[in-house]
Every structure is written in C-alpha cells, then in structure tokens.
C-alpha cells in the first residue's frame, strides 16, 4: 500500500486548510472534547448541576433587578423566561470564548512535543460547551411547560441559531487563542470584553429598545441574531427577523474567515512562541 507523502515547508498562500487532514484527526477531536467534559466534572459533588447553576441564578438576579426593580420591557413575556431564553445561548458563548482563549497556552507542553492540527484545540474548546448547554436546555423546557408556552413550527429552526452561536464562538475563539499564545495579557482583557459584549446584546433588554436608525449597527453583533433567534424560535415572538439575521450571519462569516486565515498563518510557528 502506498504510504502518504507529507511535505513540510513554510506556510504559503492565504488559506491552506488541509481539510483531509482534519478528517483524519476527527477521533482526536472527539477525545479532546470527551476529556474536557470528564475533567470538568471529576471530583465535584453536584457534577453536571454546575451547568445549570450559572444561567439559572443569573436569570433570578436579572428578574429581580432588571425586571422587577428597574422595570425593563420584556415584550410581554414573563421576566424569567425572557431572560433565560437569552442567557441559555449567552452563557454558552461566554464560556466557550473564555475556554478558547486559554486552550493553546494550556496545551503548551503538548503542542511543543507532538504534531496534530492545532485548530482542533479551539474547536474542541468551543464544542465542549455544548454539553453544558444541553443540560441548561432541559431547564428551559421545564420553564416553557411552567409558563405554558407552546412551541411553534419555528422551533425547528433552533439548531440553526445554535449553529450561529457556535460559529461566532469559533470565529472569535480562533483569534483569541492565537493572540493569547503570543500576547499573554489577552486573557485578562477577555472577561471584560465579554461583559461589555453582553450589554451590547439583547440579553437584558429586547432589541426593540434600540432606536430604529441604529438597528443596523446593532445587528452586526452576531449574538444579536442568535438571541433574537432563540426568543423567536422558542417563544413565538411576533416579529420576523429578516435583515437583522442577515447582518449577523454576514458578520459571523467575516469573523470566521479572518480567524481562519490568522490562525492558519500562526499555526506553523505557534510552537516557537507559546
């Protein structure tokens, strides 16, 4: 049987993804995700319960302070479900970004000793959060039953919005993981950036609060599309999304393309700087 020939040379061209190679290493991706999940819950008492605690208690706090105390509009929905439907994708996104930022530096020893496609690291960091997401999702189903919210046909589109969230986390994660390996202070900026990003997204308030003429700028935030999409798909909000979604999707594609190019250029020599 003819053995595969691999050429080792300096990075050439703009984008050189080696998709065939990624497919070959698909099992490693599975093992990295499996390891992330196993390690996260080992030696914890509540175990998977932690995945529920963060969005749930944040929802309680938001309901009390932004809902009851401040009286934020919630488009006719009960506060808890209004906030939880947004917190569900948001918590996934925030955690995925934080994990992705650290992943290359955390794997410093592995990267400098063994070869595998480095892109598997931010990819596994972003995908590991989906398990937490699914646990938190069960709570949402419970809440929908409690508030007698009936899912519509639009609910079938929910995976699409989840995919948008994953793509955003991956696109930004590619940038952050490579940048943090080179400039070690990036990891300190990220939690702050994520906080600000939350206020720039319709988590605490509906996007209808944003003045009409700024709505286009607001929609360039991919998480706007994700969160409004989640609310629309799950809770049957009346207004269709239309251009808001296209703007968000376009921004995601740009982020991912840029992230892939940057990561791929850094990949060859990241073992020298990490």
């Amino acid at each position: 049987m003819e053995k595969p020939l691999v050429r080792i040379a300096p990075t050439a061209g703009w984008l050189d993804l080696h998709l065939g190679e990624l497919w070959e290493y698909r099992e490693l991706l599975y093992f990295l995700i499996w390891r992330n999940i196993k390690v996260r819950y080992k030696q914890t008492i509540i175990g998977a319960g932690w995945a529920i605690v963060q969005p749930f208690f944040t929802m309680v706090i938001f309901t009390l302070f932004f809902g009851k105390l401040a009286g934020m509009p919630s488009e006719g929905l009960p506060y808890p479900i209004f906030y939880y439907s947004a917190l569900l994708p948001w918590v996934y996104f925030a955690n995925a970004l934080n994990q992705a930022t650290l992943t290359i530096v955390e794997h410093q020893r592995v990267i400098t000793k063994i070869y595998f496609p480095r892109i598997l690291l931010p990819l596994s960091a972003v995908l590991s959060g989906l398990v937490d997401f699914s646990f938190a999702f069960t709570i949402l189903i419970g809440m929908m039953v409690f508030y007698r919210v009936v899912p519509t046909a639009a609910t079938l589109l929910l995976p699409l919005f989840l995919l948008l969230a994953i793509s955003t986390a991956f696109g930004v994660g590619l940038w952050l993981s490579a940048l943090n390996a080179i400039y070690r202070d990036v990891r300190y900026a990220v939690p702050f950036v994520v906080q600000c990003w939350m206020f720039a997204s319709p988590v605490i308030y509906p996007s209808s609060l944003v003045p009409e003429r700024w709505r286009w700028l607001y929609a360039l935030n991919p998480m706007t599309g994700v969160i409004e999409g989640f609310r629309w798909a799950l809770l049957g909000q009346s207004k269709p999304l239309g251009s808001l979604l296209f703007a968000s999707a376009g921004a995601v594609l740009l982020l991912m393309a840029g992230g892939l190019v940057y990561f791929q250029r850094m990949e060859g020599t990241i073992a020298d700087v990490v």
Binding site: I8, E27, L28, F31, Y183, G268
Partner: protein
C-alpha cells in the same frame, strides 16, 4: 556503504530534506510580549526616529542608537538549522549526534511538524511517530485506561487500533492492577512505563527519537533501546538523536553529525564516530595533560 543515487527507487526514500533552515528570534525570547509592549514600541518608533534625525543633524558621523527590538536586525536572529539536506531510505536507522545547541532537537521538531521551517522543505513518506517526550497529553485526573486512549489519539492512533492493542500496552507497562486508578496516584516509574508503552505500540513508518527519552531507571532505558531495535527490525525507519555514542554505534548504520546548525559530516556510523571522537580528543584541554588526561610531569 552508500548506494549510488540513480539506483535508488524514489518510493524507497522515507525522509528527504532539502535546504532545510530554521531561524529563531533571540533576545526577546523568554520574555513574553504583551500587547501593551507592542503598542508602546509602535508608538515609540516615530519619537525615536525624530530624536535620531535631530541628533544626526547635530552630531555627524556618530552611531545611531540601537534599533528597537522589534526591528529585525542581524543581532536578533539565530539560524538553528542552516541548509540541511539529506535523505533517509526506508528501513534505515540513522543516528544524529552533535553537541548541545547544534540543532539536533530543532531538526526533529521540524520533521515532526511541530514547527515549520523558515526556508527549504522536507518530504516525509509514511506515518511519523515522534518520541520527543513520553506521556504528552496525559491528564492527571484521568485513569490509566482513559489516558491510554487519550494519549494514543494524540499520537495519531485510531480508537479501534488502541482498543486492539490495549491489553498488550497494559501488560508491557505492568500496571494491570492500577489501570482504573487516576494517574495522579501513580509512581513516577509507573507513569513512565505506561507512557512509553503507549508510544511503543504506535507502529509508525518513521520513528523520531530524541535524547530526552533517556530518563528513568536502567531497566526502563534497556526497554527503550530494545523496543527501538525491534521497531527497526520490522523495517521501519528510525532517526535517533543521542549523546551516548555507544548507543548510536549499537543501533545505527548511518550517522549525521550536526554542528551549529549545519551538517559537518554524514556517512557510515564508523566513519562519523571516528571523526567525532578525534575532534574532541585532539585538542587537549590543558597543555600539562596528555590525551588521557594524566598530568605530565614537568621533566617530560
């Protein structure tokens, strides 16, 4: 002895390097760049330029101040590898010797694809296994069983392949009783044995072994050497970096002597080792000692 090039079949070449060169930046290494530093340096450039121009107008014929560290100058770089070209045929065991800092580990890192070369290229035919360090990717919270799968996957083995070899790996490592305990409870010996066992069953077409493998007790070292010898017997190519000349002589048919990033001499192990040893014993460290290091009496 060397076979003439035109008689070699092209698919017989396992590794081919041509003009392989690797440049590393020195000076700022070990001090991580922060975004703040980079921004500060970028802002300082125009100020420094203005200052230089002003000084230049006042004092003629004087040296300008040093360029800022991010400006690429000859002082900031080192060529760890320079224009390395060689061929290794399938089934050969080739030793790589040289003093510390000669580029041996860098060469293995480039061939393992851990880092990309700056100039030149290499072609590698077949699956490459690097034993630059064992136990890479082991997580202390996971059990021995889980780590075998994880480490095997990182090394490039398929899950089915690992499952098939699982029992042999555990037997080789002699950790049957502890296979379902978290590895943080293992002794360092057990840890090393398990890590090496996984790597030993990798069955790559090309094996790259670095001297860092020479850790562990004498029994473990013996196992390493035995395994490498067996691997070579099965027709796999091996590149073996070591400081132990006797190990090189025992295992390798051919040898490459690297010095300061270039190939000083390459050929049969006998010739290269003879040249290597002559070079180190011909220059006496102390004029009052003979070549065996015995002190000469003043009279002789």
């Amino acid at each position: 002895m060397w076979a003439p090039t035109n008689l070699r079949v092209m698919s017989d070449i396992a590794i081919r390097a041509e003009g392989l060169s690797k440049k590393y930046r020195i000076g700022q290494r070990g001090r991580y760049q922060s975004l703040r530093d980079v921004l500060g340096q970028s802002l300082a450039v125009p100020i420094r330029w203005l200052r230089q121009t002003r000084d230049g107008m006042q004092k003629t014929g004087e040296e300008h101040s040093d360029p800022p560290p991010h400006v690429f100058s000859a002082d900031n770089f080192i060529w760890a590898l320079q224009d390395i070209s060689f061929e290794v045929r399938s089934g050969e065991i080739v030793g790589i010797i040289g003093s510390n800092g000669s580029g041996k580990s860098t060469l293995l890192r480039v061939l393992s694809r851990i880092t990309k070369p700056t100039v030149g290229f290499a072609e590698v035919r077949g699956r490459v296994g690097s034993l630059l360090e064992v136990g890479t990717g082991f997580h202390h919270e996971l059990t021995g069983r889980e780590n075998i799968y994880l480490n095997g996957a990182i090394l490039g083995m398929r899950k089915a392949e690992i499952a098939r070899k699982f029992n042999e790996i555990v037997a080789f490592a002699e950790v049957e009783k502890f296979i379902d305990t978290a590895v943080k409870h293992y002794s360092s010996g057990m840890w090393l044995r398990l890590a090496f066992a996984v790597a030993a069953y990798m069955e790559p077409d090309i094996l790259l072994v670095d001297e860092g493998l020479a850790v562990g007790d004498a029994g473990f070292q013996k196992k390493c050497i035995e395994k490498i010898r067996n691997v070579a017997k099965e027709g796999q190519t091996v590149l073996f970096v070591s400081h132990h000349i006797n190990q090189i002589q025992a295992l390798c048919q051919r040898c490459i002597w690297l010095e300061a990033g270039t190939i000083r001499i390459a050929g049969s192990t006998k010739d290269v080792v003879r040249a290597y040893e002559t070079a180190f014993t011909s220059t006496p460290l102390d004029a009052s000692q003979d070549s065996d290091g015995r002190r000469l009496s003043p009279a002789s």
